[in-house]
Symmetry: C2
Amino acid sequence: MESRVGISVTLEVVCGKWKGLILWKLLQDESLRFNALRRSLDGNISSRILARELKQLMNDGLVERIDHQTVPPHVEYRLSSYGRSTASFLHAMNQWGIKHQEEMRAVQSYPGRTGDESTP
Amino acid sequence: MESRVGISVTLEVVCGKWKGLILWKLLQDESLRFNALRRSLDGNISSRILARELKQLMNDGLVERIDHQTVPPHVEYRLSSYGRSTASFLHAMNQWGIKHQEEMRAVQSYPGRTGDESTP
DNA sequence: CGGCATCCCGTCCGATACTG
DNA sequence: CAGTATCGGACGGGATGCCG
């Protein structure tokens, strides 16, 4: 029954351009409103995309939505206690990503690896 | 300049349905031939996709290709020493993925969360 | 403020067939 | 055995506009 590899499951949850980043921000900031989260994300995520990603994360039980039922609306998003467990691999991914950037820069400085991206 | 979050970089490398799995297999098996790797992957990855993923992983310096220059062809793929460093987060992702499966099963047994997947 | 509706495009992914 | 060529569908992601 262990045919399903954990990696695949995790990738289904955090894959894509934004989900990992959203979880990362919520790990740091504890609680964020929709547009605050939106602006805190690197460049420019459209509200449509952010809403969709948040829905999926909620569906996976990682993110909780607190609607204060006020006018104008005040909605907060935060990680569930279970969502916080993603820190276990997100930290590792972050560390590795930072190192990878440096590695790639170094490699490109010494063009002795494959030098192939110019071969169509 | 630290606007670039490590998570994003890592996701660019590992994201998608197969890349994480491929790295995972190569972490376990040390060296695999094309079709052996292909068959070892969960279900059914087409050779076209596998070839593309391997190219991208090679381009990122994670996978090395050893062509034995024989007829019939004998090509092996293995992780570079740098590629092995992905173990740092792949293990964490695997652990979490396995637990997540159980968690999701438990949640679905107690339909008190959102109970909306039946709404088309 | 916090979304949803629409349109649109590029990429991902799969099946099949074919080559050296 | 180790791929490439071609086709096509599905999905992710972005731009814009509107609504409660």
